[in-house]
């Protein structure tokens, strides 16, 4: 388990991370979201002691610097291309294996696991972004850590790579490990994350299960097809819902659930041909949540 307690970081007069408190539970994939400049990467670096600031982070009850063999407790990837370009992928991992007291045969295993065995002897300077991401993940997985902390691991991955990453992280969480992943790919996070932390201007805006965050969104809707659509629409508006007519006998109702629509139709003996809940997309929920907590918004800030 990872416990974050009061993390704070200032860069000059700017408060980049503002008194963050949260927990990353084992057995779950926790998504870490926020607009550009929200402080996600700084928070991850603070957690791992790479930048100095206030507060503390405990990994299985101990600060990162106090761990006897940190790579066995936390596997982290904070940058895609943190390699010496003239070193081979295998040599890069063998070097880290020495640091983690891991036998060299594990290097070959992990190269195989991330699909880099065919290029293990190639210099990493020639790797694509996707290959570099895979090598970073190989380094994080090398010592079979109990937690993973990954900053934008999906950047540069093709659709196959994204599916592979999703399966890999899910498997780690299902094995009881804690997985913390920051990403800009909201659709990907909606598929992957069990729990979400949303950051805006260094402050924690949400810390809740993905389903709960999506459920709270005003963008959730109910799709109804009925030959009595006009009458049903009147009744739904009377219940406080917002209704959109979107075709022959088709309605989209916002602000009510399927249960309310179903019971209303039953009470007034209206026929329903289709009744379906459409949950909000994470993108919609995210945009609602971060609202004004954005530093770099096109056309709003920075205009003279």
């Amino acid at each position: 388990m990872i416990r974050v307690e009061g993390l704070t970081k200032r860069f000059g007069g700017t408060l980049a991370v503002d008194d963050l408190w949260f927990t990353v539970e084992p057995g779950k994939v926790t998504g870490f979201l926020g607009p550009n400049g929200a402080g996600k990467s700084t928070t991850l670096q603070l957690m791992l002691g790479l930048v100095r600031g206030g507060g503390r982070t405990l990994f299985d009850g101990r600060p990162y610097q106090a761990l006897a063999c940190p790579m066995r407790v936390v596997g982290a990837v904070l940058e895609a291309r943190a390699f010496h370009p003239h070193r081979s992928a295998r040599d890069h991992l063998r070097m880290l294996a020495a640091a983690a007291r891991v036998p060299d045969r594990r290097v070959d295993q992990v190269l195989d696991e991330v699909g880099l065995s065919p290029v293990a002897h190639r210099r990493v300077g020639g790797f694509s972004l996707g290959m570099a991401q895979r090598l970073g993940l190989a380094a994080a997985l090398l010592a079979e850590p109990r937690a993973l902390v990954l900053d934008e691991p999906a950047n540069g991955l093709d659709p196959h790579g994204l599916a592979w990453l999703r399966t890999l992280l899910r498997a780690h969480a299902d094995n009881g490990r804690a997985v913390l992943v920051s990403s800009h790919l909201l659709a990907e996070m909606q598929l992957l994350a069990d729990h979400l932390l949303v950051l805006g201007r260094g402050r924690l805006l949400a810390d809740e299960p993905t389903d709960q965050l999506l459920g709270r969104s005003r963008r959730g809707s109910v799709l109804v097809r009925s030959p009595d659509a006009d009458r049903l629409a009147e009744l739904l508006v009377g219940q406080g819902a917002t209704v959109q007519r979107s075709g022959d006998g088709e309605l989209t109702a916002f602000g009510v659930g399927t249960q309310v629509v179903g019971e209303l139709a039953h009470r007034h003996r209206l026929r329903l041909h289709e009744l379906a809940s459409r949950s909000a997309s994470l993108e919609a929920a995210f945009l609602e949540l971060v609202g004004g907590e954005v530093d770099y918004l096109q056309g709003v800030r920075g205009r003279q």
């Binding site: 936390v74 904070l78 940058e79 943190a82 390699f83 010496h84 070193r87 070097m95 020495a98």
Partner: protein, 249 residues
């Protein structure tokens, strides 16, 4: 510390630059032996000639090689952004500095030893093997101190690279200080200035006969000067490493 030394050894071993530097130390010694030695020493050598040829002649090159090896220890981490993975593997920064100093010093010293042994063997071979020369303890003292000083210069370069967050500036600082500033200070202030100058004190230590006659043989102060400078640089580097964020610039 064992893991840190193993990590550093693999880091150095997997870079072409390390082997180029080691090759430079040995290659320069052998080429200089062939170019200079063949012309000058057609007859037998005495122990002092041998010490000068095997140690003192190439000492600056060996220090340069050692400085390169030491500077790469942190310089590459900052240049290529590997400082973060390195700190994730070894988050205790003081320990990381100590490990890098130890590893770079050992490899820097090994480069100097390899160059000295190769040079000694070639010179003896070229000038007719006189086994009596190699029994002179002052020759071996010179060789041993040449090796130790290379290790010390590598350690200094590690500290300077940690402070400057780059290899190039660390090596340039050492070259400028040892090759320009100190000779100019001696020219301006006289040989006595060598007492307190770090690189000249190292030269004085390794010399078969004293370089500066007015200073006499190497005394306790000569032994203390470079380690004192080294301690100041490494302490400052340790404080800077501990206080700075792990960024590459």
């Amino acid at each position: 510390m064992t893991e840190l030394l193993a990590f550093e050894w693999r880091r150095m071993r997997s870079l072409r630059g390390t082997w180029v530097l080691l090759g430079l130390a040995v290659g320069f010694a052998l080429l200089a032996d062939l170019a200079v030695g063949l012309g000058r020493f057609r007859g037998p050598l005495d122990a002092e000639d041998l010490a000068v040829q095997v140690v003192q002649r190439d000492l600056m090159v060996r220090w340069l090689v050692a400085a390169g090896i030491g500077a790469q220890a942190f310089g590459h981490d900052f240049r290529y952004g590997t400082i973060r993975p390195t700190l994730l593997a070894f988050p205790r920064r003081g320990q990381l500095l100590a490990g890098k100093v130890m590893a770079a010093s050992l490899v820097g010293a090994a480069a100097a030893l390899a160059a000295s042994v190769a040079s000694l063997a070639l010179l003896l071979g070229l000038t007719g093997w006189d086994a009596g020369l190699v029994t002179d303890p002052r020759l071996w003292r010179s060789i041993a101190l040449g090796v130790v000083t290379a290790g010390l210069v590598a350690a200094l370069a590690v500290g300077l690279a940690a402070l400057t967050r780059g290899s190039g500036l660390a090596v340039v600082l050492i070259v400028l200080w040892a090759g320009v500033v100190e000779p100019l200070m001696v020219v301006g202030l006289g040989g006595g200035a060598a007492r307190v100058l770090p690189f000249l004190s190292l030269l004085q230590l390794t010399a078969y006969t004293p370089l500066f006659q007015d200073l006499g043989s190497a005394g306790p102060l000569t032994w203390a000067v470079f380690p004192l400078y080294l301690t100041v640089v490494l302490t400052t580097a340790a404080i800077a490493l501990a206080r700075r964020d792990a960024t590459t610039s």
